[in-house]
C-alpha cells in the first residue's frame, strides 16, 4: 500500500506508521520540522518501511502538497495542536491558530484531495472525543474537532459510491507529548494502543466514526446525554 501521513511526527501517527512500516508498506511522511521528520523516517526505515519525506507547512499551503502525494491508498491526517489552556482562552490570535491547524488546514486539504483519490482508497482523519461536547478544559480545541467531525461526516456521505472511505478516528485520553501536562488516570491509553486501533480500522474497511479504545463511545454517549443545565455546572 502507499500511505501518506500528514503531521507524521505526531505520536499517534508514528505508532500507526510503525505497524505499516514493519509490514513493508510505502510511506510518504509530511511535516513541518525537518529534523523531527528525519528522525521518524529513519525509525520507520529501520523497521522495514520504504519511506519518503516532504517538509511542508500544512497550515500555510495545501494546494502545493496535493500535487506531491500522487494517488495513495491511505491518507492518515494527523496534524493537530492541543494548545496551552491559559493562552487559548484569552488570546484570539492564538485561538485562531489552533482552528487553522486542526480544522481549516484539513478542510482545505481534503477539499482539494478527495476528488483526486482513487476508488478503494481511505481517508483516515484524527479527530478526538473532545469534539463530542465542548468542555471548559478543551476550549477551542474541542470546537476545532467538532468542526472536523462534522466535515468528515459530510464528506463520507458525499463520497458514498465513489469507493473512497472516510474514517473519523476519535481517541480519548492518550499518553503523548500533547497531553504531557495532564495528570495520568486509568482512562489513558498508550499511543501504541491507539495506533493498533487505527491500523485495524483501516484494514477492516471501516467507513465510519471509530472511537479508540471502543468504550469511549459509551462514555461520550453518556456525556452527550447530560442536560445542559447539569453539564454547565460540572467540573471535569
Amino acid at each position: 500500500m502507499r500511505i501518506v501521513v500528514l503531521g507524521a511526527t505526531s505520536a499517534i501517527a508514528q505508532a500507526a506508521a510503525r505497524i505499516w512500516a514493519e509490514r513493508g508498506e510505502e510511506l510518504l511522511l509530511v511535516g513541518r520540522d525537518p529534523q523531527k521528520l528525519e528522525a521518524v523516517a529513519a525509525d520507520l526505515r529501520t523497521r522495514g518501511g520504504t519511506v519518503e519525506t516532504v517538509v511542508h507547512d500544512l497550515d500555510r499551503d495545501q494546494a502545493g502538497l496535493v500535487g506531491r502525494v500522487g494517488a495513495p491508498d491511505v491518507v492518515l491526517l494527523a496534524q493537530g495542536v492541543f494548545g496551552d489552556a491559559s493562552r487559548r482562552d484569552r488570546d484570539p490570535e492564538y485561538a485562531e491558530s489552533i482552528l487553522r491547524t486542526n480544522l481549516i488546514s484539513p478542510v482545505r486539504l481534503l477539499t482539494l484531495l478527495a476528488p483526486a483519490l482513487p476508488p478503494g482508497s481511505c481517508i483516515a482523519a484524527l479527530s478526538s472525543v473532545a469534539g463530542d461536547r465542548g468542555r471548559a478544559r478543551v476550549g477551542v480545541y474541542g470546537a476545532s474537532k467538532a468542526g472536523l467531525d462534522s466535515f468528515l461526516s459530510a464528506l463520507r456521505q458525499r463520497l458514498q459510491g465513489s469507493g473512497v472511505r472516510v474514517l473519523a478516528l476519535k481517541p480519548g485520553f492518550v499518553d503523548t507529548p500533547m497531553t504531557a501536562s495532564l495528570p495520568k488516570t486509568p482512562l489513558f491509553a498508550s499511543a501504541a494502543q491507539v495506533g493498533r486501533g487505527i491500523v485495524r480500522a483501516v484494514d477492516m474497511g471501516r467507513d465510519a466514526v471509530v472511537y479508540l479504545p471502543w468504550w469511549w463511545r459509551l462514555i461520550m454517549l453518556a456525556v452527550k446525554a447530560l442536560p445542559e443545565g447539569v453539564f454547565k455546572r460540572l467540573k471535569f
Binding site: 528522525a39 529513519a42 529501520t46 523497521r47
Partner: protein
C-alpha cells in the same frame, strides 16, 4: 533530575525523591541498522524487547540480556547489566560502540569506549547526564530457538563442577538453588542458540491483585515443586528464546505475589566459592535464588558491577526491619569476602559498602553532571 526508562531497577537507583525524572519512554526510535555488521543505532528509550521483536526474525540477538526484556537501552547501559552469558560476552557496556550524552549545560557529546566520560556513563546509574542514543553491536543467531539443558544438582560441589564444565561449552549458564534444602540442591540451566522450529508462546498469565503469597511455607512448597518439575521435564529441551531468557515476563505483575509491601532484591558478587557457601548458608527463604559464575571479562564502566567471582541474587518479601536485618547480614558477609553489592538491586547498602564495592568511585565522581542526582546517590554518597 534523573533519567527514567522502564523503572525496572529494584531499589531507589531509578528514583529521585523530591526531584525530577526525565522519562525516556518517548525516545523510542530506531536510527539505523546495518545487517552486514549487526550494528544497531537507536534512541535510549527503546526496550530490549522491542529490539528482539524486530530483529530476531532477521537473525540477530541482543548480545547481553537480563532476566526481563522490559528494560530500556539507556537503563541497560546505566546499570551495565549482565546476563546468563557473562562468561562469554561480558557485560552490556562491552557491546556499546558509541553513545550520545546530553549534559545539563546543553552540550551533547558523542562518546566511544576510549573516552573517560563513556566509562563513567556505562554503569553510571544515570548520574553523568542523559543518554540520548547508543550504537550496539548485535550478534547473529540461527533461529528463535534455544537448545537448553536443565540438570538437577545436590550441593555446591556439584554446582561448581557444573559451572566449570558448562561455561567452557555453553553460551548461557545459570543456576537456581533451593536455599531451604539442607543439601542446597538446585537446578543448573545451560543453553545455546540452536536451529530448530519452535513456536512462540501464546498468551500471558497475570496476577490480578496484591496477594501476599510468598512466605516460608509457600517458598518451601514452591521450591520442592519447581525442583521436581524441572527433574520431570527432562534434561534436554528445545525452547523458544522468550521463555528461556525471560520466564517472569510471562507472568504480568508477578511482583504482586509479594503483597502490598512488595519485595526487596539483593545481589552481590564474591570472589571465592568459600564466600559463596557462607552466603548460601545464611540465605533467608526465597523462591528465586539464582547463582552464576562471572567470567574474567573486565567491565568497561567505572562503577560496573560484574567482576570475576560468583554472583548470587535473591528476592525477599519486604517485612520491614526483619528483612533489612537479613540483608545487612548478607551485606556484611559479602564485604568480608571482598565482594560488591549491585546498585540496581539495592535498597539499603551503606555509604561505606558502596565505596568498598566500587574502588573507582572517586574517579567516577569527577564526571557527575551537577544537575543530576538520585535517591540512591544521596543515600550512598558521603
Amino acid at each position: 533530575m534523573l533519567p527514567y526508562g522502564q523503572g525496572r531497577s529494584y531499589g531507589d537507583s531509578c528514583l529521585n525523591d523530591g526531584g525530577k525524572l526525565l522519562r525516556t519512554a518517548g525516545l523510542d526510535r530506531f536510527i539505523s541498522f546495518d545487517a552486514e555488521s549487526g550494528s544497531l543505532r537507536c534512541e535510549a528509550g527503546v526496550t530490549l524487547g522491542e529490539i528482539l521483536r524486530l530483529l530476531v526474525p532477521r537473525g540477530f540477538f541482543v548480545p547481553v540480556v537480563p532476566g526481563t526484556k522490559h528494560v530500556s537501552v539507556g537503563g541497560a547501559i546505566a546499570n551495565d547489566i549482565h546476563g546468563k552469558n557473562h562468561h562469554r560476552a561480558g557485560s552490556f557496556g562491552a557491546h556499546v560502540r558509541k553513545l550520545e550524552l546530553l549534559r545539563s549545560d546543553g552540550e551533547a557529546q558523542e562518546l566511544g569506549p576510549d573516552d573517560q566520560l563513556f566509562q563513567a556513563t556505562v554503569g553510571g546509574l544515570g548520574l553523568t547526564g542523559l543518554i540520548t542514543w547508543a550504537e550496539i553491536a548485535l550478534r547473529r543467531i540461527p533461529v528463535a530457538a534455544v537448545r537448553m539443558e536443565a540438570i538437577p544438582f545436590a550441593g555446591m560441589d556439584e554446582f561448581l563442577s557444573l559451572s566449570e564444565e558448562s561455561d567452557a561449552e555453553f553460551e548461557y549458564t545459570v543456576a537456581w538453588v533451593d536455599v531451604l534444602s539442607r543439601s542446597q540442591r538446585g537446578v543448573f540451566f545451560r543453553g545455546d542458540h540452536a536451529a530448530g522450529a519452535i513456536h512462540a508462546p501464546r498468551g500471558q498469565a497475570a496476577v490480578p491483585l496484591d496477594v501476599p503469597a510468598v512466605n516460608a511455607l509457600t517458598v518451601r512448597v514452591f521450591n520442592a515443586a519447581y525442583y521436581a518439575a524441572q527433574k520431570l521435564a527432562g534434561r534436554s529441551r528445545l525452547q523458544h528464546w522468550d521463555p528461556f531468557f525471560f520466564p517472569l515476563d510471562g507472568v504480568a505483575h508477578w511482583n504482586r505475589l509479594y503483597g502490598r509491601r512488595g519485595l526487596l532484591q539483593f545481589q552481590c558478587v564474591v570472589p571465592t566459592p568459600e564466600a559463596l557457601r557462607a552466603l548460601l548458608s545464611e540465605a533467608p527463604p526465597s523462591p528465586l535464588t539464582v547463582l552464576k559464575r562471572f567470567g574474567p571479562a573486565r567491565s568497561p564502566g567505572m562503577l560496573s558491577f560484574p567482576r570475576p567471582g560468583f554472583t548470587f541474587a535473591l528476592d525477599l518479601p519486604n517485612r520491614g526491619e526483619e528483612t533489612f536485618a537479613q540483608l545487612a547480614r548478607l551485606e556484611a558477609l559479602a564485604m568480608e569476602a571482598g565482594g560488591a553489592i549491585y546498585p540496581a538491586k539495592d535498597a539499603r547498602m551503606s555509604a561505606e559498602t558502596f565505596a568498598r564495592s566500587f574502588p573507582r568511585l572517586g574517579e567516577f565522581s569527577a564526571h557527575l553532571d551537577p544537575a543530576f542526582s538520585s535517591s540512591f546517590w544521596r543515600r550512598v554518597h558521603r
